[in-house]
């Protein structure tokens, strides 16, 4: 039989020869089943599938949201990739998002794992610390933006004060093009609460016997971390890596808030250093009247994310060892 799930089921006696028995559901049950998933299905079709298909269609049109879209074939795609008069910052935005991903994702993973190890190690009050470390995730983005603008302030900012103790001269974090990406990535790492919780669950899932056996064999903490914890957490790390890369490539809200709040300008910070791919897309969709091109950008990103994800599945070790 083709279906491996059905293959190992005990064969029910068929009522009529030649007809495969339906496992589980009768016809009436199937109506009930459809009714039960109907809300989710309607939601999926109306709010996810239809808009996605519509966006794909619009990506082949010139459309300003007001007049009817006109078909332009692949022009949006080719112009985005090759016409630097029409889209002078397209490749810059690709570069910004890639840079951000390369810096922010590892930083987030390291921060999350570090926090998880600490929370896992303490005996008293781990709930409190878990809560405190999780708070940045549930804080409204506008508030996060305001707080970090203040922390990064070139004159009064706490970050500069702390760096000053180590003799580092004050930096103009959000206005120096070279420092924008690290500054943003640091905020992302500070917001690593969800990854921390997932790592914590991973840590709890490592059998104690492994640790005991390692201790008996004379392995120190560093060796235990390298030879037991890291390999055992590999599925967790892989999951966080894949989802983290996808999220980082789509970063938008924070950049928008950080640069629009004080500068009254949404163009992505000094010298476009914070013009992430999705911010660029947003500007074309809602500020420059080019919804068609924006839809094309979203599909380019979709394909890119699919490729990156497939590469990760192929080349990154994901099984626990």
């Amino acid at each position: 039989m083709a279906n491996p799930v059905q293959a190992d089921r005990p064969a029910a006696t068929p009522d009529r020869p030649g007809r495969r028995p339906r496992p589980g559901f009768g016809r009436r049950d199937s109506i009930v089943g459809w009714l039960l998933i109907a809300p989710a299905l309607v939601y999926f079709v109306a709010f996810l599938l239809y808009p996605a298909v519509a966006a794909l269609y619009y990506s082949f049109t010139d459309w300003n949201l007001r007049s009817s879209p006109s078909w332009v074939g692949l022009a949006n795609y080719t112009d985005l990739l090759f016409d630097d008069v029409k889209y002078p910052h397209f490749w810059k935005s690709v570069q910004v998002s890639l840079m951000y991903t390369v810096v922010a994702v590892p930083l987030t993973l390291v921060a999350a794992l570090g926090q998880a190890l600490l929370v896992n190690a303490i005996r008293k009050g781990s709930n409190l610390f878990r809560l405190l470390l999780f708070l940045p995730v549930v804080t409204a983005e506008a508030a996060v933006g305001a707080i970090w603008r203040w922390l990064y302030d070139p004159q009064y900012g706490l970050i500069n004060v702390i760096l000053g103790w180590f003799g580092v001269p004050p930096q103009n974090w959000l206005n120096n093009p070279d420092l924008v990406i690290p500054a943003l990535a640091f905020i992302a790492a500070w917001q690593c609460g969800i990854s921390m919780i997932i790592y914590l669950a991973g840590l709890k899932g490592i059998p104690l016997s492994l640790r005991e056996a390692a201790i008996i064999d004379g392995a120190g903490p560093v060796q235990r971390f390298r030879k037991i914890i890291m390999p055992m957490l590999r599925p967790t790390t892989f999951y966080l890596l894949v989802t983290g890369v996808i999220a980082a490539l789509q970063v938008f809200g924070l950049v928008y808030v950080i640069f629009s709040a004080a500068n009254k300008s949404v163009t992505g910070g000094p010298e476009q250093a914070g013009l992430t791919y999705v911010l660029h897309l947003y500007l074309f969709a809602f500020r420059y009247d080019a919804m068609g091109a924006a839809c094309a950008m979203s599909f380019i990103l979709l394909v890119f994310i699919m490729i990156i994800t497939a590469l990760q599945f192929k080349f990154v070790k994901q099984e626990a060892a």
Binding site: P51, K86, R149, Q250, P270, S298
Partner: protein
């Protein structure tokens, strides 16, 4: 990503549904006019809109229905409504959008004889132009001026030379204090820049003959002047939040919205506002909103009548004030001038010499994507003003298809 797009499209569908429900008129025979606008900034402003609405309804025996939308979402929702065929009769529109909407025939031209053009500020009226024709009435206007800390700057500079000298003096007297917050090479800075260019007798474009002019001497001199201010006004100081209000910068370029904020949050700061310093002639930039009538409206005559009503001698001062800007109607502005706070007077004065943005549909994109980076290139010292602007002007010509 498709999720985001899906979300946006879903939001559009939702809004379309909502406005479709909201559009139905309930009253019997009196025609209903639907007017879209921003949400009132304050309860008082909301009351002014209500009073104006009632006055118009009573005088004309009609109904006016306001749809008030948060400013940040306004353009998106309006576009969505237009896309779904549920545009209002009339509405408020940010100045640079007027020529865009006119070009794709979303809005209709102002019928001849609707207004007396000489009753309005020229700069504000010009923001309604598309290919030489009016497509809206100016509702309110705003501009930026020179905020100065009276303790550090006893008399405000009038000219560029005085501005540079003042900034120098301040910074030399105390190296922890910057002369002026120099605008940045971003979308906001690029919006303020034309006001200075006009102050050197220049313009960014000549729309009629389709020429890009911002690689010429007045524009280059303007950018050079901004660059020259930087040594006495280091970014390390001026990039601090509220550098002017905290007393870290002696001057800044900003608009009337900051007057209220500073008075409220920094009551100890002794400041005033002067018109922008200029090189050859007083000038300024302009922002604000216009009223337009949509081509799908079945009540166009009534819609223009309502726009006449809120831009009239009697009502424009109230309406513009509620909007947070200044009247566009000259007689109405005289009433405002009589009651205005000293810090507001300079803005109103400067609006007489304000210059509208180029009436080019893609202007916002040119502003953000071409001019802003060019300004930043010069301000960060990566190119001379002439190099940066020559490159930017060439790009603009290619983008707009203007070949001279």
């Amino acid at each position: 990503m498709s999720r985001k797009v899906a979300g946006a499209a879903a939001a559009i569908a939702l809004i379309a549904g909502l406005t479709a429900c909201g559009g139905g008129s309930d009253a019997g025979d009196a025609p209903t006019l639907t007017f879209w606008m921003y949400q009132p900034r304050t309860p008082q402003a909301g009351q002014i809109y209500e009073d104006l609405r009632k006055g118009f309804e009573k005088a004309n025996n009609v109904k006016v229905k306001y749809v008030q939308i948060a400013k940040d979402d306004y353009n998106t929702k309006l576009s969505s409504a237009i896309a779904s065929g549920t545009a209002p009769d009339a509405g408020v529109l940010d100045q640079p959008l007027v020529s865009r909407f006119a070009l794709d025939k979303t809005t209709v031209e102002v019928p001849a004889g609707t207004i007396d053009e000489s009753a309005f500020y020229k700069g504000a009226l010009d923001t309604n132009l598309s290919e030489g024709k009016l497509f809206g009435l100016p509702l309110d206007q705003t501009t930026v001026g020179l905020f100065y800390n009276k303790k550090l700057v006893p008399t405000p500079p009038k000219t560029w030379d005085e501005l540079k000298a003042t900034a120098n003096q301040v910074h030399q007297a105390d190296s922890k204090i910057a002369g002026i917050v120099v605008p940045k090479g971003d979308g906001y800075g690029a919006w303020m820049w034309p006001g200075f260019v006009a102050g050197a007798g220049g313009a960014l474009t000549d729309d009629a003959s389709k020429k890009v002019l911002f690689d010429q001497q007045p524009a280059v001199d303007t950018l050079q002047m901004w660059v020259d201010l930087l040594p006495s006004s280091p970014r390390q100081i001026t990039d601090s939040d509220n550098a002017f209000a905290n007393g870290l910068a002696a001057m800044m370029i900003s608009g009337p919205w900051d007057v209220a904020t500073i008075k409220d949050q920094f009551p100890d700061l002794d400041f005033n506002v002067a018109p922008l310093p200029y090189k050859t002639e007083p000038a300024g930039n302009i922002g604000g909103e216009n009223g337009v009538v949509f081509s799908t409206s079945k009540n166009t005559a009534l819609a223009w009548k309502f726009l006449q009503y809120i831009t009239s001698d009697a009502n424009n001062a109230k309406f513009a004030d509620a909007f947070g800007g200044y009247p566009t109607n000259i007689k109405a502005a005289e009433q405002t001038a009589a009651t205005i706070e000293p810090q507001q007077a300079a803005f109103l004065e400067q609006l007489k010499v304000a210059h509208a943005r180029p009436a080019v549909p893609q202007w916002i994109q040119v502003n953000d994507e071409i001019i802003a980076p060019a300004l930043e290139k010069a301000l960060s010292g990566k190119a001379t003003p002439q190099e940066a602007l020559t490159e930017a002007a060439d790009k603009t010509r290619s983008l707009l298809g203007w070949n001279s």
